[in-house]
């Protein structure tokens, strides 16, 4: 009984994810240089990301763009 009610309470979002902080990593051309680098957008902070291998491995959404 309890179990059923709890499941029903999942709301429209079956995977409610309270304990999370989302960030985005974007491949950008860095201003005033020819460098293309990964940039971390973490709320108001925007920084050049150094090593994003782990981030790539566990990303939730991947956006691929056509390159030709």
């Amino acid at each position: 009984m309890l179990g059923k009610s709890l499941q029903a309470g999942l709301s429209n979002n079956g995977m409610l994810t309270f304990n999370r902080h989302y960030v985005a990593f974007l491949k950008r051309k860095i201003p005033q240089s020819d460098e293309v680098a990964w940039v971390l957008y973490n709320d108001e902070k925007v920084v050049k990301a150094d090593n994003i291998e782990e981030m790539k491995q566990f990303a939730y959404i991947y956006i691929l763009s056509r390159s030709n």
């Binding site: 009610s5 108001e44 691929l64």
Partner: protein
């Protein structure tokens, strides 16, 4: 209140107490960031008793909300019958007073002050970047899901060209706050002009720091309000699922572009997916084409043996993105009765791209349903920055030698026909046929996950077991003028809004989904009039490209990185 509710049954702690909803044991929670103490006795109780669900005593409000944690699935839960469950333990919810911070409040607090690892592996500080397109978005309290998605979208040329118009007047509207076009242009200007991307000396990392300070960031409050309006989740301050938000934005932007002459930037995500079914007995085939703007790929879980038996979380073999796509487009056998030869042998099913989009959104699904609960698995996916050839996933269409299956009987009736394969998948999870059809009807008949989520959320609906009735004399009910207006502002005319609301029981969001699965003019009875109203617009082109080579490269990622706040 019984005395036992005021102290942990295993130690002296009198705060951060969790009541087991199965046996009434009171134990202290884990210690939390921010100085909340705890000796994890509630967790120990859950482990030793196998009791799953506990409620945090100081978090109960008279309105019936409280922190509820399930130790079995390691996640927060909501209990709609909390008052009754608490009454059993002698707690009168109406007299309860919230005395401690809820997990959400702790989370907001932590998000606001938490520094995402702003240092590199060797300890040097990550360097802030400034300029047009490098504008941060201030956290409005658990709004990082929104910021992450917005940054990804406005980095794309289609969105930049469409909404960043520095030399134009703002669009004509009586109510700019309620106009998505206006708000998107405002956001584009904020992010792309560079005006707001400046170091703010008031925000210093550390008082005596010589580092470049970060920027203040734009606060997208009006935008958040507008896109969340009428949505039961996105209108709240709660943390949300970034992928669901992306799909919600796609919908809203597409709707707002119906009345614009400019190109809809969401089109750059659109493509056609081809599904081919072949009977294993008579070898006849059926093709089905669906327009999509994303794919969800299931990441296969291959557990690694634990090295020392001490690890608390399971580890998994890493999987390449290519393998995920191979599985997505691979053959799969489905059990279906063949309408051609009547055989029950089943079908071979295969999905391929009929066309490929400019930008491909891939949602990596790393969860398994364990006891109905989607459980997240930490499976690493390997993807590098090199070009990826998607040509192999492009279909060349039906072969001349293929024989087609007859169409199902009773075609031509506008009755709802549920996607049989999705029905089957849902049914295999234990839902009844009627419930499956209801769920598919409500969620657009195209996506297993939304249908599943809908089912989980609507199990207690009184009409959940009533068969779908599309035209069985649905009486047009008087819909809230406000709802029709709300849909109107998204570009849906009153007549269609009213029809959509009738079909969905007056739920604005489901009505929105309904509009998408029922494009104007598709209704027989209204074909003439809508054709006249809209005039002779050009046939929409098939989205996506089919030319080769089809090379793709990783452009952006949305990650969730946790200062994981262990609950309970």
């Amino acid at each position: 209140m019984i005395l036992g509710l005021k102290q942990c049954s295993s130690c002296e702690l009198k705060e951060n107490l969790w009541l087991c909803l199965e046996c009434g044991n009171v134990g202290c929670g884990r210690s939390q960031f921010g100085g909340v103490g705890g000796n994890s006795h509630a967790l120990a109780h859950a482990d030793s008793s196998s009791h799953g669900v506990a409620v945090k005593l100081g978090s109960i409000t008279p309105e019936g909300s409280a922190d509820i944690y399930c130790y079995k699935c390691n996640e927060e839960r909501i209990d709609p019958s909390l008052a009754a469950h608490l009454a059993h333990w002698g707690i009168n919810i109406a007299e309860s007073e919230k005395t401690e911070k809820s997990l959400m409040e702790l989370q907001v607090e932590q998000n606001l002050k938490w520094e995402f690892s702003m240092t590199t592996d060797d300890g040097s500080v990550l360097q802030p970047v400034f300029g047009p397109g490098f504008t941060g978005l201030k956290n409005l309290g658990n709004s990082c899901y929104l910021a992450s998605i917005v940054q990804c979208l406005f980095a794309l040329p289609e969105f930049q060209q469409r909404y960043f118009r520095p030399n134009e007047d703002p669009p004509q509207t009586n109510n700019p706050a309620e106009d998505l076009e206006t708000q998107l242009r405002k956001l584009a200007d904020g992010l792309l002009s560079g005006r707001y991307s400046k170091p703010d000396s008031e925000i210093s990392v550390q008082p005596e720091s010589v580092e470049v300070p970060h920027q203040r960031g734009l606060a997208p409050a009006m935008f958040k309000h507008l896109i969340g309006r009428g949505h039961e989740e996105f209108s709240t301050m709660r943390q949300q699922d970034a992928f669901e938000l992306l799909l919600h934005l796609f919908k809203l932007i597409t709707l707002s572009n119906r009345t614009e002459s400019s190109a809809n930037p969401v089109d750059s995500f659109r493509f056609v997916l081809e599904q081919r079914l072949q009977c294993l007995d008579c070898s006849k085939v059926r093709y089905r084409y669906d327009e999509q703007d994303n794919i969800s790929v299931q990441v296969p879980a291959r557990p690694l043996a634990s090295e020392n038996g001490l690890e608390t979380t399971a580890r998994y073999e890493s999987v390449t993105m290519k393998e995920c796509l191979d599985i997505f487009t691979g053959d799969e056998v489905v059990e279906l009765k063949c309408p051609g030869c009547g055989s029950n042998k089943g079908f071979r099913k295969r999905s391929l791209f009929k066309s490929l989009p400019q930008h491909l959104v891939i949602n990596a699904r790393r969860f398994e349903l364990i006891n109905w609960v989607p459980t997240k698995l930490n499976i690493p996916v390997e993807i590098n920055d090199d070009d990826m050839d998607m040509g192999a996933y492009l279909s060349s269409g039906p072969l001349p030698t293929e024989e087609f299956l007859p169409e199902d009987a009773a075609t031509g009736t506008p009755a709802f026909s549920a996607n049989i394969e999705l029905v089957q998948q849902l049914a295999s999870m234990g839902f009844s046929q009627v419930r499956c059809e209801n769920a598919l009807y409500a969620t657009g008949n195209s996506d297993l996950e939304s249908a599943m989520n809908w089912l989980l959320a609507h199990l207690d609906d009184p009409d959940i077991d009533k068969p779908v009735s599309v035209n069985s004399g649905v009486t047009p009910t008087e819909h809230d003028i406000e709802k029709i207006q709300q849909l109107g502002e998204m570009g849906i005319d009153a007549k269609q809004a009213s029809r959509a609301l009738s079909a969905t029981g007056g739920d604005v969001n489901r009505a929105l989904d309904w509009v998408f699965s029922h494009p104007e003019g598709s209704d027989d009875d209204n074909e003439m009039s809508t054709a006249q109203e809209t005039g002779s617009t050009a046939q929409p082109e098939t989205p996506g490209k089919t030319d080769l080579p089809a090379k793709y490269t990783l452009q952006s990622l949305v990650c969730h990185k946790g200062g994981s706040l262990h609950a309970g």
